[in-house]
């Protein structure tokens, strides 16, 4: 992990409220693995605002990209960051996705913004010639981010939208059971709202497919010191539990490890 002052190289509006930003940092770019995140200072020098966590969306040489949605003051500020602005960034942080050595086929379960880290992961999987299936859902057609890219690189793609404007009407997990009747991935990676992760965990457990989920929690320090970002996980003995830190013990957890209740 590094603390760097890194320059914004480019920034782009993807669709309403969704932006991507490209940042120059050899330290972070060259050390990052898919699933890791950066912890970023938003706002002017003197303003007191906690850093905000963002998944590493894509890496290209000495640069990396973030993909984010404007939901509050931090992301609003970031959406206005222009080229040449210097950002204060901690990263790369956390446990990323684990990619088994002889992995042949995987399925992504993507809910909304959950696509962000999975694009980085897909780049690595494609390099390794892993067969990719994708189940992707969003509230509406316009929010199906990277849909065409994922369609192009995946062997098969399953789509849902809450309002039915594209693919099946409903949640992405509604079509997961059906999808898993037709394709048999060796591994599932899920990223999205908690409800999506939870349901995916259930289904993959039933079908005995290993599954990793990328958890989201409010963070303060982002480096493992404050214990703010608790995720309830199974303890060493049966029935016991332990709060792990999403920032450094995760954000990617084995779905079986998480206590969802």
């Amino acid at each position: 992990m590094f603390e760097v002052k890194a320059e914004v190289i480019a920034s782009k509006k993807i669709t309403k409220d969704i932006y991507s930003i490209k940042i120059l940092s050899p330290e972070i770019s060259e050390n990052a693995v898919p699933g890791q995140f950066v912890h970023l200072k938003c706002g002017e020098d003197k303003s007191f605002i906690l850093r905000r966590p963002f998944s590493i969306h894509r890496v290209d040489g000495k640069t990396f990209e973030l993909l984010f949605e404007v939901v509050g003051k931090g992301t609003r500020w970031l959406s206005e960051a222009k080229s040449h602005l210097t950002l204060d960034i901690l990263g790369p942080i956390g446990r990323g996705f684990s990619i088994g050595d002889n992995l042949k086929s995987v399925m992504f379960v993507v809910g909304g913004m959950g696509v962000a880290p999975l694009v980085f992961l897909s780049d690595q999987l494609i390099k390794r010639k892993v067969k990719l299936y994708v189940a992707i859902g969003a509230t509406t057609k316009d929010r199906l981010l990277y849909f065409m890219d994922l369609k192009r690189i995946s062997y098969k793609i399953f789509v849902s939208t809450d309002d039915g404007t594209c693919g099946q009407k409903g949640f992405v997990t509604d079509l997961l059971n059906n999808a898993l009747n037709t394709v048999k991935p060796e591994q599932i990676y899920a990223c999205g709202p908690r409800a999506v992760l939870r349901k995916t965990a259930e289904i993959s457990k039933e079908l005995k497919i290993p599954c990793e989920v990328s958890m989201v929690e409010r963070m303060a320090c982002g480096i493992g010191a404050c214990l703010g970002c608790a995720c309830k996980t199974k303890g060493k003995t049966n029935g016991d539990f332990e709060y792990k830190r999403v920032c450094v013990d995760g954000p990617v957890f084995d779905a079986e490890e998480v206590v969802w209740s």
Partner: protein, 304 residues
């Protein structure tokens, strides 16, 4: 480092007056990746209890204007784990280590103290009778002068290292509690712990913290903390470790002027991990520029 920054807290010799606030710096390992923690005056570790404590359900953190609310709930793996797993790393830093001791009963507090008595590498005890995030113990002990005095007396009779008592701001008259615990044997005081607060998500109509209430920290509480340090410093005769919202050199100086012998930085570490060493450097320059030879020329020197 000039000796001009050196201070002494009840026999704990610190090369400078900058400490970390308990619970915001864990046991230093994480921050050691970003700063040279051996430069700190002292490190105060996260609250330690006799047995493992699981802590509160998430969400445990939320942001408020110039502050944060937290409801960690003293999550820690217990004193044995601390001594065996964390302390060896801390010893290598060659700076004073102060253990923040917590519990839900007096016996538990005493148990922790007994376990760390005589353990090499522990320079002091910070008795946390002020945690707002646990149902039992914590703040309850620290709110009532009599109860506070009782636990301090017992702790003092057991403790081998200097005993610092950490006070809660959630009282009417913090001086009353301060006097009571000093009378009962406290070697030093640290203040303030976080202020009870709450925030609501207006989209979901739910509290922003799973526990509903949490502890407010950060710059928002600085005026409150400063007032309490100033009041307590004029009331008791033991050294005071001031904290609450310190996030830059000027903030630290305010606390020294109000009477704090040392200061601790908490929440600000989360935003700028280098803030402690930046303040140390800044303080050295500050004294130099004014021709001040020691911290004594700053501590308590408010002009009223």
């Amino acid at each position: 480092m000039r000796s001009g920054l050196a201070v002494d807290i009840a026999g704990i010799k610190m090369k400078n007056p900058l400490m970390t606030a308990s619970g915001t710096f864990a046991s230093g390992r994480e921050y050691s990746k970003l700063i040279d923690i051996s430069r700190l005056g002292a490190i105060v570790v996260k609250g330690v209890t006799l047995k493992e404590k699981k802590g509160n359900p998430p969400p445990r953190i939320c942001e408020t204007p110039s502050g944060i609310l937290n409801s960690i709930g003293l999550q820690n793996k217990g004193v044995n784990y601390f001594v065996e797993e964390d302390l060896p790393f801390l010893r290598k830093q060659k700076i004073p280590v102060i253990v923040n001791v917590a519990g839900s009963t007096i016996e538990e507090y005493l148990g922790v103290i007994e376990r760390i008595n005589g353990v090499h590498g522990i320079s002091g005890i910070e008795l946390n009778i002020s945690c707002p995030n646990v149902k039992e113990g914590g703040m309850i002990f620290g709110s009532d002068p009599k109860m506070a005095a009782k636990i301090v007396k017992k702790a003092k009779s057991v403790a081998e290292a200097p005993l610092i008592v950490k006070l809660t701001p959630n009282v009417m008259d913090i001086c009353e509690v301060a006097s009571a615990v000093v009378e009962a044997g406290a070697d030093a005081l640290s203040l303030i712990n976080s202020v009870l607060g709450m925030a609501i998500d207006v989209k979901t109509f739910r509290p922003r913290l799973a526990t509903t209430l949490g502890g407010l920290s950060g710059p928002a509480i600085k005026p409150i903390a400063l007032r309490m340090v100033w009041d307590v410093a004029r009331t008791v005769d033991v050294p005071i470790i001031g904290m609450g919202g310190i996030s830059c050199l000027e903030d630290a100086i305010e606390f020294f002027l109000a009477g704090a012998t040392a200061v601790a930085v908490g929440t600000a570490n989360f935003i700028n991990p280098k803030i402690t060493v930046e303040i140390i450097d800044g303080l050295e320059t500050f004294l130099e520029e004014r021709g001040m030879k020691s911290m004594d020329e700053l501590i308590g020197k408010l002009k009223v």
